[in-house]
Symmetry: C2
Subunit: 388 residues, 2 copies
Amino acid sequence: MANFAIMGFGIVGSGVAEVLRMNGESIARKLGEPLNLKYILDVRDLSATPYAKQAVKDFSVLENDPELDVVVESIGGAKVALEFTRRALLAGKHVVTSNKELVATHGKELLAIAKEKNVNYLFEASVGGGIPVLRPLFQCLAGNQIQEIVGILNGTTNYILTRMVKGGVTFAEALKEAQSKGYAEANPAADVEGLDAGRKICILSDLAWGREVRPEDISIQGISHLDLKDVDIASKAGYRVKLLGRALRLEDGRQAAYVAPHLVPEDCPIAPVDDVFNAIMIRGNAVGDVMFYGRGAGDLPTASAVMGDVLDALAHRAKRRDLGWSESAPLIRQEQDLPLFWYLRSESAPEGGEKLAEGAYITGPLSVKDARELAEKVNAAALLPVLR
Amino acid sequence: MANFAIMGFGIVGSGVAEVLRMNGESIARKLGEPLNLKYILDVRDLSATPYAKQAVKDFSVLENDPELDVVVESIGGAKVALEFTRRALLAGKHVVTSNKELVATHGKELLAIAKEKNVNYLFEASVGGGIPVLRPLFQCLAGNQIQEIVGILNGTTNYILTRMVKGGVTFAEALKEAQSKGYAEANPAADVEGLDAGRKICILSDLAWGREVRPEDISIQGISHLDLKDVDIASKAGYRVKLLGRALRLEDGRQAAYVAPHLVPEDCPIAPVDDVFNAIMIRGNAVGDVMFYGRGAGDLPTASAVMGDVLDALAHRAKRRDLGWSESAPLIRQEQDLPLFWYLRSESAPEGGEKLAEGAYITGPLSVKDARELAEKVNAAALLPVLR
């Protein structure tokens, strides 16, 4: 029998318990032994739930149980979660998480502890919810040099953009709808300002190139200032507006990563991805473009990814996977010299601009700095990158 | 240093050598040691190629080299490839292949030998070319009960169908174009009659449910009899015609698998997948629908998947992955009682049919047997399943 614990019994944590309840038999068959949920660590009172027997309030119970193999961290944030993850790894437990904030900000340190203690720190659920993407990137595409990763990484903003495009409603109205459907939180800043997507593109970049990129070092632009006018012009000209996280590696070895709303051509496979769905395209120098698509959030989809990692950690109890990124990446800021194409809305045509519609142009390649200068010169009302 | 060999230096085999040449440095960094191509086994004379030093003609050189860890089988077919795979596994070598015919027809036996000898037999490249799909299915989605797999599994037929839909050309004309572009072989039967897709859906089914399904036991219908009329009617009614491999598990534990051209609703994520691209959707009871998309064939994409498996086999030299399917599946034939929806082209309306266009109807759910009886009764000119 293999024992695991869940720390934090919120949406993801209770989803993991539910997946075990639903699929315990097939999980045991694949694992070759039963999987036992031994502890649930939560400050809440679980005595009236079916999990009264597993409930504990003291982390040291988990830390000191030599029969506990794997700990699922679904606490969230980077405070208590950081402390308990550190201590669990130091106690020789494998740790599995869906906590993108913690992985993006402390992944390097936690992977170093895991390496030292010869245990696994796995986080497939931190990007794309239930969509398998980190393991395929790291393992199946290991024969490639990864050139680019670009994706719709946040379901809340994709729902809002879908409503703006298809329903013709403003950002503020679409946000209200998303909140009433439970897709957006009361304080939606981390989603709509792009920070959530920023954390995820950093994790993808870390794994693709083995060097740390920190969310605070990349340019992150959300959708809260997006004008319905530009969404309309883009739609009529054969583009969809999508909030994309994007990471590239240039031929000279420098990297770039950023988050911004983009114009995406309709024939690009990520253009038709609507509502709360996520899609991530990865370009390798052998495989070409591959895309991964599915629900990027939700209790059971996220729990599916967590459970996959729990089973993988148990299958490799004796051998740690090396997922580490040890150095910092030689990053170029988008602001400096990454050449992109740009959508400009302006009454006077920019030099070299190709007319997209009345008062709207596409121009490039230009660095962000040059594009901003150009936008100022022609007094542009909007400036958005275009995916090519 | 880790040593591997390539058996069969055709399109895939030489692609694997090329990927090592392109990416040897990053591969060594990920592996933690250099990867050395020690032998190339082929009947052809390679003395004028850059691989003269590695060329061997006698399989027993590979078999008897204790320093050889992994053998790539890219011979194709199920004769020589079967013998050499058996002998390589029995000699304690890990074997990696892209050979879908061999995996679909002899996978059970070869996995049993691999298990006995504690080595890996890996075949990610056998389905979807470079698209990561088997490992995500088996590993990342291990916490799910898989309910359905449906996909565009053959690039040649998808190219032909794309030309029929978008170019309005007949099957025969589109096939000629595909042949002139090198997408279809001179003898295109295995592709256009659906056998290639049939082998792949069997492999997916084997891995999803751990029970063997053999290509000769499932219903396989290709696209050679497809009428341009039905493609047109479907397009105008919001459907795309796609050759799909499909595998399902019913609630009573019985399984079904089949290959047939389907009407696919335009808003289904696999509908816009055109040309030689493949896309595979997997439905799990926790994750919902996830989709994997990319180039399903070609030298470098396929070699990308082979190289991913080679690196995985080397990372797990000491520990075998259990991918086995040991029993036969309790299969229901599509002909018996799998209920599907159907497109019928007929001058008289079938009972309960919903009108799609003049002289075209959708009806169901009906088993194939009942649908065929109905088609005969109304003297239908076409009968195709509809994906719902």
